[in-house]
Subunit: 180 residues, 2 copies
């Protein structure tokens, strides 16, 4: 099932910060609309990013068990803050073998382990888009309460300092607030 993230001037999420972290910019917008399960790409708004949720690519059973115990779903009433972080990785990353990518992702960058440390406060959902000709490889969606904003900042900064992030060549960081 595809999900469309549509940047423009409508939608229930208000953009409160829009940062081009690395690489080619994306046009700043004031609102974000999310449409799940559309059959074709939505063309409204200034831009539209599309992705799909998929099976786990690196998560091992022991990590999956911890995630299942700790994580809560999206749409919690108190989680009125959100972030959409589209990233693209280098061709060098994609040419690596599975064991090499896993070694960087978890063995040395501790991606899952770091995220686990912020559960259940910071909920996360990953959308893949490299394989469908989109400008980014992944769209990560986060939801958290205003009280956890500082922790979210720490999470993002910690990941950006990891070895894995050396392979990120484009990143946009869009922070959002749910409209009442």
């Amino acid at each position: 099932m595809m999900t469309d993230f549509i940047g423009g001037d409508t939608g229930e999420w208000e953009v409160i910060r829009f940062e081009v972290v690395k690489g080619e910019p994306l046009e700043t917008v004031s609102r974000l609309q999310i449409i799940h399960g559309s059959s074709s790409k939505m063309a409204t708004g200034l831009w539209s990013l599309r992705g799909f949720n998929s099976n786990a690519r690196y998560t091992e059973r022991i990590e999956m068990r911890k995630l299942t115990v700790l994580q809560q779903g999206l749409n919690r009433p108190a989680a009125t803050c959100a972030a959409l972080i589209p990233i693209r990785k280098t061709s060098g990353w994609w040419e690596l073998a599975q064991d090499e990518r896993r070694a960087i992702f978890e063995g040395r960058s501790h991606h899952t382990e770091i995220g686990l440390g912020y559960l259940p406060a910071i909920a996360r959902k990953l959308y893949h888009c490299r394989d469908i000709g989109e400008p980014f490889d992944f769209l990560t969606w986060f939801e958290y309460s205003p009280n956890d904003s500082y922790d979210f900042e720490n999470l993002v900064q910690t990941l950006r300092k990891s070895e894995e992030w050396l392979y990120v060549d484009r990143e946009i960081d869009i922070r959002l607030r749910k409209r009442k």
Copy 2:
């Protein structure tokens, strides 16, 4: 980039055998047409299956090295035989963690190792389609010369006896010959 496999009565590949190995059938056709890089799904023919080539999901560096040394490309003049084998795996497979899938795929079913034994004679290309709402999860395309038909049969039968294949709940086996 998407590739469309269109079953109907046109195309450069003639269907010489069409077998429903497991699960729901697919309508028998006499010809197959392949279109690379189409922007939207092709609607001609009796059916159309669409997939994308992607990064390696299980292959480790040591295997990748062997593959690179041994494999040859598609479209070799002598490779006038082909097979298109669409398969779907169970939801049980997709809920497994990465290490569990790898253990079945290679550790116990030796999927890559078996395929390596048939290189360079039997060339193979994998297309993914589970994530784009297609009826199958994978479309595997094989090319080989008529002299290697017996070996190809062995390869297919060996994989079907593996533990990995316990997770296959739909499989169609379409054998083809290139039209002169």
